[in-house]
Symmetry: C2
Subunit: 321 residues, 2 copies
C-alpha cells in the first residue's frame, strides 16, 4: 500500500480540467503500487487512475514508461493507457510531482494462485514480449546482474541480522552469478516485476497488467524467470510443478524458447530470486520507523534461490524435455 | 489511511453476489476512515463502498450505525445508505469481520478550509440533528465527560513525554470539566466526529457526510463544539472568527440554540478539545511500531483547549449577541 502525497481537492479539479474526462466527482487514495501514490479518480465519464510519481521512480525514465504503456495498449496488451490532455501531454506536474492519468482496468489481482492464473500469465507475458518488439525506446535494467553488487554491499554488513550466515551465502551466490550470467540471450522489453498484485483477472480471464515502472530492456527469458518465482511457489517454499509447467508451456506456445534460453532458465531463476532477495533485504534493513508500507520478507526469496540451486534439469520445472 | 484486512478476490465475488448490484469489476483498498478497512468496489452497476469493521468498532453497535445511516439518508441527509442483500440483510460477515456495502457519495473532502465550507457544515449539522430527532435507537457517548478520566489515567504517567507539565494541566482541566459539565441541554443524535475528512464537497456545495462510527446520543450543541474545533482554527492555533461565525450562524438558522446552549458553548468546546486531545495522546503514546496509520498531533488540541479557556463571551466566536 502506498499513498504518500495528499492531493488537495482544488488542485485536483484544476488538474483534471486539463483533460476531456468531465468534472471530478471523487478521488480516493488507493492501496496499489508500492513506489508511487495512486488515486482512483471518478469523473462524470467514469473511473481513472491518477499516479503521482514519488522519488524512487527516476523522472528521466517517465517518458519511457508512458510511451511503453501507450505502445503496448495499442498493440493488444491489456494495460493502462495514459490519457493525453487537451495540450497533447500525458505527463505533467501535480503537487510538485510528475503525474499522469491512465485508464482504469477492470479486474482484481488473485490472492490465492490457482494453476489457471499461471497459464494466463504465461500467455500474457508472451504477448507482452511480442508487442514490445516493435517499441523503439530502450531502458537498461539497473536491477540486473550489474546492479546487484551495489545492493549487496549496502546490505552485507547487516545481512546476519536477518539470518545467520546470510551475508556469506549471498556473497558466494553473487560471485557465481556474475561469472556465469549469460550475455547472448534474446532481448526485448520486459515487465520485470510481474507479481500477482500487478495482474488483474475477471473470474478466470486475465484482464490486465499494471505497474510498468520496472519495465526495461533485458533478456526476455529473465522475465519468465521472475514469473516463475512470483507465481509458482507455494507458501511453504516448494515449487508447484503444475503451475510452473502451465506458466512455461503457455508462454512457449506463443513464443518458443531457444535452446540457450531453456538451458539458462535455472540460472536466470537464481538471478531473479537474488534480485528480489536483495531489494527486500535492503528495504528490510532500511525501513523507516514511520513508513506506511509493510516490509516484505526477504527470506522467502532465499528459499526460492536455494531451490533453483538444486535444479538438475528442466524436468524439475515440469517441462517435458 | 487504513486498510487492515486484505479481501481475497474470490471471497469478494461471493459476497457481492448476495446483492443485486451486478458482477464485481474491481476492488481497491482506499485511504478513508481510520477505524475500519474500506474498499471502493466497482461493479457492473457503479461504484460502492465496502467496509469491514475492525476491532475498534464494537460489534454490538453496528446495528445502530447501519440503521442510523439508513434513517438519515431517508430523511434527506446526504450520507452513505447501507445496501440490503437479497436476504434483506445489510450487515454480514467477510474475512471473519462484520461487513456492509454502502452507496458511494460523490465529492471530495476539503484540504484547505474556506469560509463557505464552514457555512455548509453548519447547515448540514442542523439538518442532521433535525433528521436524527425521529430516529428511535440510542447509543451512549462513551467518549464524553464520563469516559475521559479512564482515558486520562491511561495516559497521565507518560503525558510529560509529549510536553512538560501536560499531565498536570490535563488533570486540572478534567476536574474542572467533570464538575462544570452541563446535564440539561437538548439531546439527540450527534455525529461526534465531523472533521473535514468526513465531509464531502462538490465545488462549493456540501455533497455528503460520512463515517458515522462515533455517532451517539448526546448534547446537540456538543456536536457544534466539535465542528468549531475541527473547522474553524487556523494551523497557527488561532480561531478564524469569520469561519466560526459562519458555522454557528448557519447552524442557528435551521436550529436556534437555547440560551443554555449558548452559555455552555465555550465549556462544550473545551470538553470537545479535551476529548480529541486525550484520544490522540493515547494513540500517540500507544502507537504500534509497524502501524500503517500516521499519528495525529495531540498538542493541536491543547492549543484549542487553551483558546477556549480564554473565551470571555460568545463574541469571541464571532457571534453578535
Amino acid at each position: 500500500m502506498a499513498v504518500y502525497t495528499d492531493v488537495a481537492d482544488d488542485e485536483l479539479r484544476a488538474f483534471v480540467a486539463l483533460y476531456d474526462i468531465g468534472e471530478v466527482l471523487a478521488c480516493k487514495g488507493i492501496a496499489e503500487g508500492v513506489e508511487n501514490s495512486n488515486y482512483l479518480v471518478t469523473t462524470e465519464t467514469g473511473n481513472f487512475i491518477l499516479t503521482l510519481y514519488e522519488k524512487r521512480v527516476a523522472r528521466e525514465d517517465l517518458p519511457f514508461f508512458i510511451a511503453l504503456m501507450e505502445h503496448l495498449a495499442k498493440n493488444g496488451v491489456a494495460c493502462p493507457t495514459p490519457l493525453h490532455g487537451r495540450d497533447g501531454k500525458a505527463l505533467r506536474e501535480l503537487c510538485g510531482r510528475p503525474a499522469a492519468i491512465v485508464t482504469f482496468l477492470a479486474g482484481m489481482w488473485p490472492r490465492r494462485i490457482q494453476p489457471f492464473h499461471c497459464a494466463g500469465v504465461g500467455r500474457a507475458l508472451a504477448l507482452l514480449h511480442a508487442a514490445g518488439a516493435s517499441f523503439c525506446m530502450q531502458r537498461a535494467n539497473d536491477l540486473s546482474v550489474a546492479g546487484w553488487r551495489r545492493l549487496f554491499k549496502a546490505c552485507a554488513a547487516r545481512a546476519g541480522e536477518v539470518q545467520t550466515g546470510l551475508g556469506d551465502e549471498l556473497a558466494e551466490e553473487l560471485s557465481f552469478l556474475e561469472a556465469a550470467w549469460p550475455t547472448e540471450l534474446p532481448r526485448g522489453i520486459i515487465h520485470a516485476d510481474l507479481f500477482p498484485d500487478n495482474v488483474f483477472f475477471r473470474n478466470r480471464d486475465l484482464s490486465g497488467l499494471i505497474d510498468f515502472y520496472f519495465a526495461c530492456t533485458d533478456f526476455l527469458a529473465y522475465d519468465l524467470a521472475v514469473c516463475l518465482n512470483a507465481w509458482c511457489f507455494e507458501s511453504d517454499g516448494s515449487l508447484n510443478v503444475t503451475k510452473a509447467q502451465l506458466l512455461l508451456d503457455n508462454y512457449r506456445q506463443d513464443r518458443p524458447l531457444t535452446p540457450a534460453e531453456m538451458a539458462a532458465l535455472p540460472l536466470l531463476a537464481r538471478g531473479s530470486a537474488l534480485r528480489f532477495l536483495l531489494t527486500r533485504l535492503f528495504d528490510w534493513l532500511n525501513h523507516p520507523a514511520g513508513a506506511l508500507v509493510r516490509r516484505k520478507d526477504p527470506l522467502e526469496f532465499l528459499r526460492k534461490l536455494r531451490f533453483h540451486r538444486t535444479v538438475a534439469g528442466l524436468r524439475d520445472y515440469g517441462l517435458d524435455v
